[in-house]
């Protein structure tokens, strides 16, 4: 059995910070909420005794992705708080309700299997990377490379002729 209390606390935290991500107005706050969300998920993983995932979540998500977002927030002229209109809020609410309805129906109609408590060592978690998941694991290399190439190509496209072809941009 999982320890109930830490799980509930972490779940509540994750859900709250998740709401924060979509509800907060200032981009910086949103990034901080995402950071909190990621950290509470990491804590939840710890509670589920998935130490490796907790570490990965902290390192990659909190460490890298959120920082990346923060940098871009700084780069973009976001103009302070986001002005969200009522129709958009309504759209968000409608999506939330519709998605929840669909997925809740699905979840309610199925039972969960559960095995005994088991803690996986890093070695055990890593083993599939060199067995069943060998191909996907190796494919992440060209994927990351492609992402880098794409980002650089987009940047170069931007930089190469800064004044030409600006018909779509507004001063």
């Amino acid at each position: 059995m999982l320890p109930l209390v830490p799980v509930v606390v972490c779940c509540a935290l994750a859900a709250l910070t998740g709401i924060g991500v979509i509800a907060l107005r200032r981009p910086v706050y949103v990034a901080v909420a995402l950071l909190g969300h990621s950290l509470s998920l990491a804590a939840l993983y710890l509670a589920m005794s998935a130490q490796f995932s907790a570490a990965a979540q902290t390192l990659i998500y909190s460490g890298a992705i959120v920082v990346l977002f923060l940098i871009v927030v700084a780069l973009l002229p976001s103009g302070g708080a986001e002005q969200t209109s009522w129709p958009r809020m309504a759209a968000g609410a409608v999506v939330l309700v519709a998605m929840l309805a669909g997925l809740a129906t699905a979840v309610l109609a199925s039972g969960l299997a559960h095995a005994n408590r088991e803690v996986f060592s890093v070695e055990q978690v890593g083993a599939p990377l060199f067995a069943e998941l060998l191909l996907p694991f190796e494919l992440t290399a060209p994927l990351l490379l492609a992402a880098i190439v794409a980002a650089i190509a987009l940047w170069r496209r931007q930089e190469s002729r800064p004044t030409a072809d600006d018909e779509g941009a507004r001063p």
Binding site: A109, S110, P142, A146, R157, S160, D165, G168
Partner: protein, 448 residues
């Protein structure tokens, strides 16, 4: 080392060759910037290598590799006239084309859901960036929208994959069958999410918007390839998931397919620009693909056959349009007065491509539609079959609308054809004609 090589499957070898080609293109990029021919040659060799590996395998991956090889070769040939914002970015574009081919190939050869996910990601990275590299602000806008929606749908795919894992504890496609019993709502929801995530690449209603933008505003020389690769990958992925899922996912695909056909056909009537017409009708074709891929029996071969027939014609159409637009308004070719300055070869190629896309017998588009009809008849019975048939032939009207104009103006002189464009036109037109007179062979290739 030799032992390792001997143990490698031919699919993996093809993937390795594509990765190697990409690395070579990137490593040599500073030198290749000056010589488009060298870039194209390098890419063509890589594609041919992958295609040669493809000849060695049996089954699905073979056709996938051949399609990818042809697509990459055509894209490389068109690189000379590619409407890039910065012409020095040709090596990067070539590398991204190879990445897109790799993505499609990974999906076609995949045995687990995770591989499909990685293939989809490769496809969307390369597709969005290739579109973004086009000239002007419109391609950038299109790429942004395309990628944003693709990210959303990809997240759905991942969530669906996770739900399936939660339901049965495995990522294997083979194990998918076991979980679709009664009460397995999570598994069904997961399958639906994954199918919709892939459907974005197929341009199926209601997830068709990004593709619509990309096909409209992207550079013509590269969009043909982006379209082919994503449809190939998505159709293969959806067919794999649908054939392993239960009836409800298949019915979902049927419904979405019929809606998509109706939408694409009706909306195409309003289009007055050729690029938009091609984009909207690509949506209609996605409907056929979905119906084929969602059929319980014969789904996979029919879908692949459709991709081959449709892809050949679409590649031909975009090859004919490659490099013709002016800098600012690439996609402003109105249907009326369209032939101006296209020249005879391009105009005739467009006529052939449009006729094939319209499903004029005996061109490949017709055989593809017939195959879908046969499959739909076996799987779904008379009413859907009749609807599909009607949707399939109504397209003749909007596809043939520009034809009198094109034929009339095919006499006029157009811009001189560069060698690459001429080769690409010859290759794709030859493919279309070959499939027209030997459809049985193409189907055999898709089926074995």
């Amino acid at each position: 080392m030799t032992d390792l090589l001997a143990d490698l499957s031919w699919t993996s070898r093809a993937e390795l060759i594509l990765v190697g080609t990409m690395l070579a293109l990137l490593a040599l990029a500073p030198r290749l910037e000056k010589s488009t021919t060298a870039t194209s040659l390098l890419g063509v060799f890589g594609a041919l290598g992958a295609g040669a590996c493809g000849l060695q395998v049996e089954g699905l991956p073979r056709l996938g590799m051949l399609v990818v090889a042809v697509g990459v070769v055509v894209a490389m040939l068109l690189l000379q006239v590619a409407e890039l914002f910065d012409l020095r970015q040709r090596p990067e574009a070539a590398a991204l084309v190879v990445v897109g081919g790799l993505g499609a190939l990974v999906i076609v050869a995949s045995r687990s859901l995770l591989e499909i996910a990685i293939g989809v990601e490769l496809l969307s990275l390369s597709g969005a960036t290739l579109v973004a590299l086009g000239r002007g602000q419109r391609p950038l806008e299109a790429a942004f929208k395309y990628f944003l929606l693709s990210a959303v749908t990809f997240a759905m795919f991942l969530f669906g994959m996770a739900l399936l894992f939660l339901a049965n504890g495995s990522f294997g496609l083979d194990a998918l069958n076991e979980v679709f019993g009664p009460g397995r709502g999570v598994a069904l929801a997961g399958a639906a999410l994954m199918v919709m995530g892939l459907a974005f690449k197929l341009a199926l209603l209601p997830v068709h918007f990004g593709a619509l933008d990309a096909y409209t505003a992207g550079p013509a020389s590269l969009v043909g390839f982006v379209m082919l690769a994503s449809k190939l990958g998505a159709a293969a992925g959806i067919a794999k998931i649908a054939s392993a899922s239960g009836a409800s996912v298949q019915q979902l695909l049927l419904g979405a397919g019929l809606l998509t056909i109706g939408f694409g056909v009706v909306a195409s009537f309003a289009q007055t620009e050729l690029r938009r017409l091609l984009a909207y009708s690509a949506v209609a074709h996605a409907g056929f693909l979905a119906i084929a891929a969602g059929s319980p029996k014969l789904g996979m071969p029919t879908a692949l056959f459709y991709v081959v027939c449709y892809g050949a014609a679409a590649l031909l159409a975009f090859a004919a349009l490659a490099g013709t637009g002016s800098a600012a308004n690439d996609d402003q070719l109105p249907v009326a007065r369209l032939g101006n300055g296209l020249g005879r070869a391009r105009a005739l190629a467009l006529v052939l491509a449009l006729a094939s896309l319209a499903g004029v017998p005996p061109l490949p588009g017709f055989w593809a539609k017939l195959a879908v009809l046969m499959t739909a008849w076996k799987a779904w019975g008379p009413v859907p079959t009749a609807l599909v048939a009607l949707g399939g032939v109504i397209g003749v009207i909007y596809y043939l609308r520009p034809v009198p104009d094109l034929l009339a103006q095919s006499k006029q002189e157009g811009p001189r054809l560069s060698l690459g464009v001429a080769l690409a036109l010859a290759l794709t037109a030859g493919l279309v004609l070959f499939l027209a007179f030997a459809p049985g062979w193409g189907y055999w290739l898709a089926n074995n």
